[in-house]
């Protein structure tokens, strides 16, 4: 039985969670230190399939700025952050771009699009 320390990020309280992992049990984990039920849900997800939003930028040609801010439309698996960055860094779009425009479709098969987070007019 393994133990893991986590900090819950659901609310500003930041409960320090201790998670006991027992794979023989159906539940899989047991959570201590949470002050509300959301802590347990968080710990479960964080341990089984942690996901993160990825806000970053892509190169843009002929825009009023040199970089266009973008984000993942939905959270992606945490371990996909750097692989996705590698793909995003290779992309160059051209102004004008509208907010919400899809810059990369279904990045690395995650089912998540990379979209522009601002409108950028051409120079």
């Amino acid at each position: 039985m393994a133990q893991k320390e986590l900090i819950c990020i659901v609310c500003p309280l930041g409960c320090h969670l201790t998670v006991e992992i027992d794979e023989s049990k159906e539940q899989g984990i047991k959570v201590f230190g949470n002050k509300c039920p959301r802590g347990e849900t968080y710990a479960n997800k964080e341990l089984t399939a942690p996901t993160r939003m990825l806000p970053t930028t892509v190169k843009i040609k002929n825009g009023i700025l040199n970089r266009l801010p973008v984000k993942t439309e939905a959270p992606i698996p945490k371990e996909m952050i750097f692989p996705c960055m590698a793909v995003i860094n290779e992309v160059e779009v051209e102004a004008p771009v509208k907010i919400g425009d899809v810059v990369i479709e279904n990045i690395l098969g995650t089912g998540v699009n990379i979209v522009a987070t601002r409108t950028m007019t051409a120079k």
């Binding site: 930028t57 892509v58 190169k59 040199n66 970089r67 860094n89 290779e90």
Partner: protein, 479 residues
């Protein structure tokens, strides 16, 4: 072949170079840094001493008094700010009173005008924030404040307007005495000159040793650390306020700057001869400066601090300025130019130029232009002048530095003059964007854009100060 090579573009070398161009003399200035005014000149108290302090009969005494007398006309011609605020040396004890008397007598021998010992009430009337323990002061109305780096830039710019050459990033590595002339090399380039003026600041002894095996002096670095407070502290003192001098120097002072900031420092720390690059500040010494200043002036708003810095003074083993042809023919030393070096610079320039012109039998230069083209300071214009200026050149309508109210037009002008700025700090020294309370946080990127555009280089190649001080290391997505 140059007639004269001046080594070092601090205020002394710059003054000499400019005064030399009054004659038919071919001048080159060699500077190891990426800009002029990068040594002692950029980190000192920025004051023009009245001249009562240095002993009668010394070089310091002579040139300080003379320098102060002509400072106003030099600054007028070169369009450099200079304000005769007056200075106060404050006494805290009976013993200090004797020191004031002695300073006054010495000053009178040197013909320093209007020296006066004032009592506590008069002192407080001038400086309401003076320490309650100060009992009297020596008031010297001819003392003043200036901008040492701008004076240096102006001297070089005017020298170049009159035909002098400037070689930056030329660190003198070897000097060869060819009997009738010298060759000077930085390892890549070699120049020839009939005369050499050594104005190399803390390195003057090393430069001299390149031509002389038995030098008469050494130069040790003496470090001083400072606080510079925001303009919101303006008016906390109105004059240059000193404690009584000691062996370590003129003490830690509190002084207004010509730009309206408050400058506090220096301490005095003798460094090893090898520490000629040690311009870092230290926690203990900054604390000491604070403590000493608080003994002199009450309620200094240190929370308004915008930067701290340290400068190295060139402390000569002889105790006095070393000025004159050395025992090596054709090699002129200007060494040990610690305080009052800035105050003396205009006089030293005149004196050295006269001496060298005499040995060269040089005539006055026909068409010498004594005046530097005026620098427009947008902040100082009235509304009607501003309106007209923007109409004429819209770049003056775009404010780049909001703390100091500097427009794009002023920055572009500072880039394209002789001895123009090419770095972030160079622009800051010339027109002050980044010298204010945000310290370039907002305007830094804008100034870099203007530099890159005007110099036609990439943003990444813009430096903060020296040639290796790049600010950006590349583009994102390409590391």
């Amino acid at each position: 072949m140059y007639d004269v090579a001046v080594i070092g573009a601090g205020v002394i070398g710059a003054a000499v170079a400019r005064e030399l161009t009054k004659y038919d003399i071919k001048v080159v200035v060699l500077e190891r840094e990426n800009d002029v005014s990068c040594g002692t000149t950029k980190a000192n108290s920025a004051i023009v001493h009245a001249g009562y302090d240095a002993p009668y009969g010394s070089n310091k005494g002579k040139f300080n008094a003379w320098g102060n007398r002509i400072f106003g006309e030099v600054c007028e011609a070169l369009n450099v700010p200079f304000d005769r605020t007056g200075s106060l040396v404050c006494a805290f004890s009976e013993e200090d009173l004797l020191t004031l008397e002695a300073l006054k007598r010495n000053g009178e021998l040197l013909e320093i005008p209007n020296l006066e010992i004032i009592d506590q009430a008069a002192l407080r009337a001038i400086e309401p924030n003076i320490s309650e323990n100060a009992i009297a002061a020596l008031y010297a109305p001819t003392a003043g404040i200036t901008e040492p780096w701008e004076l240096t830039i102006a001297y070089i710019e005017n020298a170049m307007d009159n035909g002098a050459e400037l070689k930056l990033n030329f660190e003198v590595k070897a000097i060869e005495n060819k009997v009738n002339f010298y060759t000077i090399s930085d390892g890549n380039e070699q120049i020839e000159a009939k005369y050499v003026v050594n104005a190399a600041g803390v390195y003057a002894d090393q430069i001299y040793r390149m031509v002389c095996d038995t030098p008469e002096f050494t130069i040790a670095p003496r470090r001083g650390q400072y606080y510079l407070l925001d303009k919101s502290a303006k008016g906390h003192v109105k004059t240059v306020v000193f404690p009584c001098p000691s062996k370590a120097g003129k003490g830690t002072l509190v002084v207004p700057t010509v730009d309206g900031n408050l400058l506090i420092g220096p301490d005095s720390e003798d460094l090893d001869n090898s520490q000629k690059e040690a311009t870092e500040t230290t926690l203990e010494r900054l604390d000491l400066v604070k403590q000493l200043a608080n003994q002199l002036i009450q309620n200094i708003p240190f929370r308004e601090n915008i930067t701290t810095f340290a400068g190295l003074r060139a402390e000569p083993s002889t105790g006095d300025f070393i000025i004159g042809f050395s025992k090596v023919a054709g090699f002129y030393n200007l060494a040990g130019m610690k305080s009052p070096g800035l105050s003396s610079a205009p006089a030293i320039g005149v004196h050295v130029a006269e001496e060298i012109a005499t040995v060269l039998s040089a005539q006055s230069r026909v068409g010498f232009e004594p005046n530097r083209r005026k620098r427009l300071k947008f902040e100082h214009l009235n509304d009607i002048q501003r309106q007209a200026l923007i109409k004429e050149n819209p770049a003056y309508g775009r404010v780049i530095c909001r703390c100091e109210m500097i427009t794009e037009g002023e920055i572009v002008d500072a880039i394209h003059r002789n001895c123009g700025g090419t770095t972030l700090n160079g622009i800051k020294r010339r027109v002050r964007p980044g010298a204010g309370r945000c310290q370039g946080g907002f305007c830094g990127p804008r100034v870099m854009e203007i530099l890159a555009r005007e110099l036609d280089v990439e943003m990444e190649s813009i430096c903060q100060e020296g040639q290796a001080s790049h600010i950006l290391i590349g583009k994102t997505k390409s590391l």
